[in-house]
């Protein structure tokens, strides 16, 4: 039988921790956005990089900015909720021949959770390009945070001819309204409550043995005949009640 104790103080503590986490999230968002350069200007976003000049090597632009500028977590591109991003691939067919497909994949735990392909390739001269209007998709309701993206140029047989990794930071509404962080916060609060009430588990193994350790009342006298009548009488054994 489990005892019930008023967990008022623990509930207040858990609520305080949850409140502190919720207040800390906009601070973290602000810190991340403060270190992230503002690259989401719409003016140069619809222009593929290949139309500017001849491309000497392969490159990918994210709203007009080269993705090599976001090669670390601290310099990740910020993607707001429901934001569409113009991603432009540009390469020189002489240095990277045989490109038939451009791909942008978002990775989480090493697996691609979101993949977009663009097959029509424009241009065949000194520079070729491919553009896509990239959105996070339905996964933005589930996760947020920093994710790695891999932009790659593929051949017709699926071989990766060129690739580049960069980072983006997905933002949820009010920095919290995604499913996974909400579940993690609730789980963390519950486990914190379970950790704080773990001290009560220490009494469980100590209160039961004195009750169950009473010796059987009739086992010591087998020849008296009382052992056959005692269990059928329905009375409680001596010493069984505390």
């Amino acid at each position: 039988m489990r005892r019930r104790y008023p967990p008022r103080r623990l509930v207040v503590f858990a609520a305080a921790v949850a409140l502190a986490l919720m207040l800390g999230m906009p601070t973290a968002t602000g810190a991340a956005s403060a270190t992230t350069p503002q690259r989401s200007g719409p003016s140069d976003s619809s222009r593929p990089a290949s139309t500017q000049s001849e491309v000497s090597a392969s490159e990918v632009t994210w709203n007009g900015v080269d993705t090599s500028a976001a090669s670390s977590v601290s310099s990740a591109f910020t993607v707001t909720f429901n934001q569409a991003v113009n991603v432009a691939f540009a390469w020189n067919p002489n240095s990277t021949p045989g490109v038939t497909e451009a791909r942008l994949a978002m990775l989480y735990f090493g697996f691609a959770v979101s993949t977009r392909d663009v097959s029509p390739i424009q241009g065949s001269g000194p520079s070729s390009s491919a553009a896509m209007n990239w959105t996070v998709g339905a996964i933005q309701y589930v996760v947020e945070g920093v994710f790695g993206l891999t932009a790659s140029l593929l051949a017709s047989n699926g071989t990766t001819l060129w690739s580049e990794n960069f980072f983006v930071r997905l933002a949820a509404p009010f920095s919290i309204l995604a499913a996974l962080p909400l579940i993690l916060i609730l789980l963390g609060v519950y486990e914190l409550y379970a950790l704080l009430r773990s001290g009560r588990q220490s009494v469980l193994g100590r209160s039961k043995p004195p009750v169950d350790a009473s010796p059987p009342p009739s086992g010591s006298a087998p020849g008296t005949g009382s052992s056959s009548t005692a269990p059928e009488s329905g009375t409680s054994p001596p010493g069984g009640n505390s």
Partner: protein, 70 residues
């Protein structure tokens, strides 16, 4: 289940939650599988050790405040 093991179980889960929540708050990068598993294992071990110590200490305190009737 003793207080220390109960605290260890809660601490392991808290360590895993802390790592995943840090990624969601843009403090950690869990893109690579190897690095992600390393972070999770480190978080679980540290959380388990801290949970064991906290559970053991809370068990001692509870028994001191609520001595069992022998």
């Amino acid at each position: 289940m003793s207080a220390a093991s109960h605290g260890a179980a809660a601490g392991v889960v808290l360590g895993l939650v802390a790592v995943l929540l840090a990624q969601q708050l843009a403090y950690l990068d869990l893109t690579s599988l190897t690095a992600a598993i390393e972070y999770l294992v480190i978080g679980a071990v540290i959380g388990g050790l801290l949970g064991t110590v906290i559970g053991w200490a809370l068990g001692k305190r509870y028994l001191r405040l609520h001595p069992p009737n022998v």
